[in-house]
Symmetry: C2
Subunit: 339 residues, 2 copies
């Protein structure tokens, strides 16, 4: 008996590794000191410009969005989703990315599929200047069904200690929302249940309301707000940022507000994308459940001083970034809504 009989193919793993190496290399910058394949990735951070550099690290997965990718046979965007998600997660503390690592676990090692997955990571890592300096690809028959897989991503960034967000949020600050590209990476278990089970759709079903197929609408890549927000962070124009992920507004906005302050959001102040309406109607989901499961069309919320609002809106416009004033910071706690 050998390892292959037990469902683990080391030769396939070696083939996958060679392809990963080339993709990862395309993301490198001069701070990367090693090649993929060493035990650990080596990175010499440029910290001279920082008085007191603080590393900010985060890890995440893409949840069951992967199930949609598998169903649709599209594996080269899900890695992009994960990097964008991780970049946003440290951006909300004011941190800019240094490097990224990925974990890919599959039921069966398929070098083609692994290459597609890692191509997604690499495209995002290149775009966000966040080199892919390491990773693990594990074949785990028994844990994952043959065609199934899971991903985890890990990012490290850096921020000047006294520039870290949130900082100085006050009553009366304005909440500015930036549009999401869809579900991003949250709420897929509910969305899949409604769309595929209750409504009986398939990934290939064209919905006129969506102007595309269910599969394409669900796989729309998670947006990173790094490009839009970096100039504002550099000019100290943002007091706090909330990445609207699992838990929605209620799960993500209050935790960047100081004790004693809450968020008052105005219903109808932004366009809720059709995809959310299709899910809500199809599953008879309450407004509350929608709001704590999905981003409802807002992927990032900026907390901005009223005196900086015009400047912020102008900067976003110049970067072709749509924005909505969606509410304000008020005395209280949590999230409340006004019509």
């Amino acid at each position: 008996m050998d390892y292959r009989d037990a469902g683990v193919d080391i030769s396939a793993a070696d083939a996958a590794k060679a392809r990963i190496k080339a993709l990862a290399k395309s993301t490198f910058n001069p701070s990367v000191l090693t090649e993929i394949g060493s035990f650990g990735g080596m990175f010499r951070p440029e910290l001279a410009q920082y008085r007191e550099p603080v590393l900010v690290a985060s890890t995440d997965g893409v949840g069951t969005k992967i199930k949609v990718a598998i169903e649709a046979g599209v594996h080269d965007t899900i890695g992009y989703d994960l990097v964008a998600h991780c970049v946003n997660d440290i951006l909300v503390q004011g941190a800019l990315p240094l490097f990224f690592l990925d974990y890919v676990a599959l039921g069966r090692m398929d070098p083609d599929k692994v290459e597609q997955i890692v191509a997604g990571f690499a495209r995002a890592c290149a775009e966000f200047q966040c080199p892919l300096i390491g990773g693990e690809t594990a074949e785990m028959p028994g844990t994952y069904a043959e065609d199934d897989y899971d991903l985890a991503g890990f990012i490290v960034g850096v921020v000047e200690r006294d520039q870290a967000l949130p900082r100085g949020v006050q009553e009366g600050d304005v909440l500015v929302g930036l549009p999401s590209a869809g579900l991003h990476t949250n709420g897929y278990s509910l969305a899949r249940k409604v769309l595929f089970e209750t409504l009986g759709h398939r990934v290939s079903t064209e919905l006129p309301e969506l102007g595309t197929t269910i599969g394409r609408a669900l796989l729309a890549p998670h947006r990173s707000y790094l490009g839009a927000l970096e100039p504002l962070l550099a000019r100290d124009k943002v007091r706090a940022l909330a990445h609207i992920t699992g838990g929605g507004f209620a799960g993500n906005l209050p935790r960047v507000l100081p004790e004693g302050l809450g968020a008052l959001l105005r219903r109808g102040s932004w366009d809720v994308p059709q995809l959310f309406r299709v899910i809500q109607k199809g599953g008879s989901v309450s407004d509350e459940e929608m709001a704590r499961t999905f981003n409802m069309g807002i992927g990032m919320v900026l907390v901005v001083s009223p005196s900086d609002l015009h400047d912020v809106e102008h900067s976003l416009e110049r970067r072709a970034e749509t924005s909505f004033v969606i509410g304000s910071v008020v005395r209280g706690a949590g999230v409340s809504w006004e019509e």
Copy 2:
């Protein structure tokens, strides 16, 4: 319909988060600037003692060792395995740990189980002074069977650039092996197939050769060699280190040796633990397949100058660390064996 109907229980997730928070906090040191629950963990590294600090990052999983943990209902050691594995992976480049993050994905959110898993992470993080500054716990019904889960770990450490290993390995250098505690985290798919399918054992089966149950033997925690090796690294007594993981000696030793040099290992120069013999005999596995799948009883190999050998052995002895001279560095490539 709500998120819970779709198999995702946000309340259970919140309960799990509260327990994780307390466990993670027990691993903190003064460099940790945030609490778990922020979007990203913040860490202010003490780098004043380094002339040119290089960050070393690695990610890994524990493979299908998790399947044994699940079968045995023992969830509080598998996180320890993962941290120890990650610590070793950066140690081989000479790096000492700064911080760790974990990714836990489950079929069903079970706060008790999550607490046990994270307790394993926390115990190891405290032992290796490597704070657990962040993580993600994802409930993914459909990807994982109800009682199933997977883990990924991410570590960041630091090394002085000109002290990074490997460095200065020469022909004639001595290979010193440190004993593993068992399979560590590699080869479990093959081991499980032989022990549970071919031989029909269960985790509770007592094997006289092992002096314990199959389950306990298989779950013996991955050893970290940080404590044993840190003093030797500080005194610059090691030229290279190889963590013997997936791929065995052939997959891990050559990659720390310079072009033109290989490893000559002496058969019988260390004790191959009974567990490996049971697997080899039970599955009629060839010597070659055993050696490229398992660590065969050696978890870490030191490459040492002959003139430092006595000093190294003495230092290891003082730390109650067994060691074996298992071979030497020779002209050539890869791994060869002598009787």
